[in-house]
Symmetry: C2
Subunit: 70 residues, 2 copies
Amino acid sequence: MIRINLDVMMAKRKMSLNQLSQEVGLTLANLSILKNNKAKAIRFTTLDAICRALDCRVEDIIEYVDERKE
Amino acid sequence: MIRINLDVMMAKRKMSLNQLSQEVGLTLANLSILKNNKAKAIRFTTLDAICRALDCRVEDIIEYVDERKE
DNA sequence: AAATATTTATCGTTTTTCGATAAATATAGT
DNA sequence: ACTATATTTATCGAAAAACGATAAATATTT
C-alpha cells in the first residue's frame, strides 16, 4: 500500500496548498488530489518539483506500507 | 532530478528482471524501461508491487537528487 | 557458438495526469 | 452570523504516458 504524506511535509514547512501550487506549477485542485491519496500515479517531473519546493526527499512524500507486516 | 535505483535493489536481492517481472506483473520490456530511468511516471500500484516483491521501501527505488547541492 | 538475459523499438489501447473551471465545503477572522 | 480565505470535490477535454504484446537488437554468460 502506498501512502502519501505530502500533508505532513507541508505542515513541517508551514506551506499552504496555494504556495506549493505556485512553486510546483500544479493547480490547486490537482495538488489537493495528490495530497489526499486520490492520485493513481505521478510523473517524475512533478515529484521532482515537489521535493525541490519542500526541500525534502521522496520518502517524505511517498511511503510504502507493507500490509503483510501491519 | 529523480533517479531510479531499481538495479541496485535487484542486485541486493539477487533478482533478475525475469523473476521480478513475474512477481510484479509487468512485462520485461516495461520493467527494463523503468529500471533504466526511461519512464516518466509510475503508477502507485506498480510501485507498490515492486516494493512488495523486493521487500524494500520507496526510497530504495526512487531517489530525489537535489541538483542545487550536487 | 549457443543459450540466456537485457535493452530498445513500435503499435495500439487504456489509463491517468493535468489544466481549466466551477461549485461545494471547511476553516479562520471580524 | 458574516466574510474572506483555504481546501476539497467534481466535470470536461486534451495531452501524456503506462502498459501489454511483440519483435529485433544487443549484451552476457556458459
